[in-house]
């Protein structure tokens, strides 16, 4: 499996942006190593602020900088942004619509891997999705992180980009292009069932789609990298075409992609939706791929989920 660090990718993109835009600054909470950010610090020492191990302070401080016209990127582990500093994100960044961009590392159980639950964050997206006014992006790999960081920098307003551990599998061998807020079909072998996914688990979804094709089930693989704003029209269209869906994500099955697709299905195009993800339990330490298998986010789980969804559709 080819690996490329989503953390290094985030820093590379930030440096490129900062070269062109003097308003871009970086706020950390003793988290510069989290994004391997020292090259940024060396290049722009005055535009880097480390406020210590103090995430709430980092978020408010970024809000103050943004209120004075800067575009602060604030970065640390996903859960320390979205849980430790959740209220600051909501009240002082999202509510006033300030231009603070947050990058959360160790998003998902696979990215938290051997650290254990304290550093495995599978609630970040669900939490942020309930807060009005934040763009929420889940890039699939390092290449897409670069595109996502550029995209959120260019868009006005609060944003969150989820990144991984630094040992992140390459999902796309070639650059795919990236349009913020747009879901897209990555692969289609038919319309028996839609496979909605985002993040590193897309690799598993591709594998499952091939296996399903061999058993005669045609799939439409849809990447939903922007969870908010959600591309409701596109998702509705896919549900209309397929009539059944599976969601695959490295997150609790409550709150993020699975919930989002189920919400669209319930309101716009009723269809069975099988959610593949962490089933509302605490995971353990382990290696990433082993963790995903153990917690039923494996290729066989996706295949079984698709078969179940198709069966439910046919029995309606």
């Amino acid at each position: 499996m080819k690996l490329e660090s989503t953390r290094t990718a985030a820093t590379k993109a930030l440096i490129q942006l900062a070269e062109k835009d003097p308003e871009i600054v970086l706020v950390c909470s003793d988290s510069i190593l989290v994004i391997k950010g020292n090259p940024f610090v060396e290049r722009f020492p005055d535009r880097y602020f480390d406020v210590g191990i103090a995430e709430q302070n980092a978020v408010c401080c970024a809000a103050g900088l943004a209120a004075c016209g800067f575009t602060p990127f604030m970065t640390t582990y996903a859960g320390f942004i979205t849980m430790r500093a959740c209220e600051q994100v909501r009240t002082f960044v999202a509510y006033p619509g300030l231009n603070v961009k947050m990058i959360g590392a160790n998003g998902g159980i696979a990215a938290g891997e051997r650290e254990g639950v304290t550093h495995q964050f599978f609630e970040d997206l669900g939490i942020l999705r309930t807060i009005p006014g934040i763009t929420v992006v889940v890039p699939a790999d390092a290449g897409q992180v670069k595109e996502a960081v550029r995209a959120v920098a260019q868009a006005e307003g609060p944003a969150y980009v989820r990144i991984g551990s630094g040992r992140d599998p390459v999902v796309f061998e070639e650059p795919m292009g990236f349009e913020l807020g747009k879901a897209r079909v990555l692969k289609s072998t038919g319309q028996d069932v839609a496979l909605f996914a985002n993040g590193r688990v897309l690799r598993r979804v591709f594998e499952a789609a091939e296996e399903l094709q061999r058993t005669g089930i045609g799939t439409t693989v849809v990447e939903v990298h922007t969870l908010k704003p959600l591309d409701v029209d596109m998702i509705t269209e896919v549900l209309d075409n397929t009539g059944a869906a599976v969601t695959v994500e490295d997150h609790n099955i409550i709150g993020a992609l699975g919930s989002a697709i189920a919400e669209v299905a319930a309101e716009a195009k009723p269809a069975p939706v099988i959610r593949i993800g962490l089933r509302d339990i605490y995971p353990r330490s382990g290696t990433p791929e082993e963790l995903l298998d153990h917690y039923k986010i494996g290729v066989s789980d996706i295949v079984a989920g698709a078969q179940k969804a198709v069966g439910m559709k046919e029995n309606r």
Binding site: V25, D46, R47, F49, V51, G52, A54, Q56, N57, C60, C61, A62, A63, G64, L65, A66, A67, C68, G69, F70, P72, E87, Q88, T91, F92, Y95, P96, G97
Partner: protein, 274 residues
């Protein structure tokens, strides 16, 4: 100086009257903590701050972060009387169509520099503003007005450490030290006191004043402005409900609505007829 003080006394009386009327009409709000901070607010908006009411988003203006956002009636009154918007807006406090939210909203009310209301976050936001000024080589001051009770929040101390570390001399915090919080006396609820020795140990420039003495307010802020390498803390001793005798010593006025009769009594005490 005497002239400045006389002017501020007069303005503060008007602001206190406004506060009482607003909360009475709204049927909701925090009169006690609005009145303890009124003199500090009056001094900042009507004497100290370099601001332009006709251009609320002027880049070089001094900033004010009202960390104790529940005292916003005093700030709304000051903004209206200073000309940011019409005093006709004041009776709308907390009503659906009004620009005056229950707690400050920087996008709805001209002159409000920061959304606030959840306690403890002001110093941290002020730090960001002070860092922004330094980065652009701007000379504005950032004033943060906090309560004493809210210093119990953890993020306050995160910000205090970072502000001292970054040596932001243009960050000036005034504590409306009225010794009371929602649930009762600060000293009874927490181990917060004494405040200044802690701040001194953190490396802040510290002063202690009577928060209802305009001479002391003006002098202490001018002194704080001259401190270039340390953030400043001015501990201003104040009285919750200041100016309205029946509120003093009765913490139920932290959040309570004056009746018609109480409003009259308050306005009389505040010298409406004078």
């Amino acid at each position: 100086m005497d002239e400045r003080i006389a002017k501020l006394k007069k303005i503060a009386r008007t602001l206190r009257q406004d506060v009482m009327r607003m909360i009475h009409l709204a049927g909701d709000g925090h009169p006690g903590p609005s009145l303890s901070v009124t003199d500090i607010i009056a001094a900042l908006y009507f004497d100290i701050m370099n601001i332009d009411p006709s251009n609320p988003s002027w880049k070089d203006r001094d900033r004010l972060v009202l960390s104790k956002g529940h005292s916003c009636p005093a700030v709304y009154a000051a903004l209206a009387r200073r000309g940011y918007f019409s005093i006709e807006e004041l009776p709308g406090l907390r009503s659906l169509a009004s620009m005056l939210q229950g707690h400050p909203d920087m996008n709805k009310t001209p002159g409000i520099d920061t959304t606030s209301g959840s306690l403890g976050n002001g110093i941290s936001i002020g730090l960001g503003m002070a860092l922004a000024a330094r980065l652009r080589d701007q000379k504005y001051f950032t004033y943060v007005v906090t309560g004493d009770g809210e210093l119990e929040e953890g993020v306050v101390w995160e910000a205090m450490m970072a502000a001292a570390h970054y040596q932001v001399g243009r960050l000036i915090t005034v504590v409306d030290n009225n010794e009371m919080q929602s649930g009762g006396p600060v000293a009874k609820i927490s181990g917060l006191y004494p405040i200044l020795p802690k701040l001194k140990a953190f490396g802040w420039h510290c002063q202690e004043i009577d928060g209802h003495d305009f001479g002391e307010i003006l002098n202490s802020i001018e002194l704080a402005q001259r401190e270039e390498s340390k953030p400043s803390m001015i501990l201003a001793h104040t009285i919750k409900g200041k100016g309205v005798p029946f509120m003093i010593g009765d913490n139920s006025w932290h959040k309570r609505v004056p009746t018609e009769a109480q409003l009259k009594e308050a306005l009389l005490a505040l010298g409406e007829d004078r």
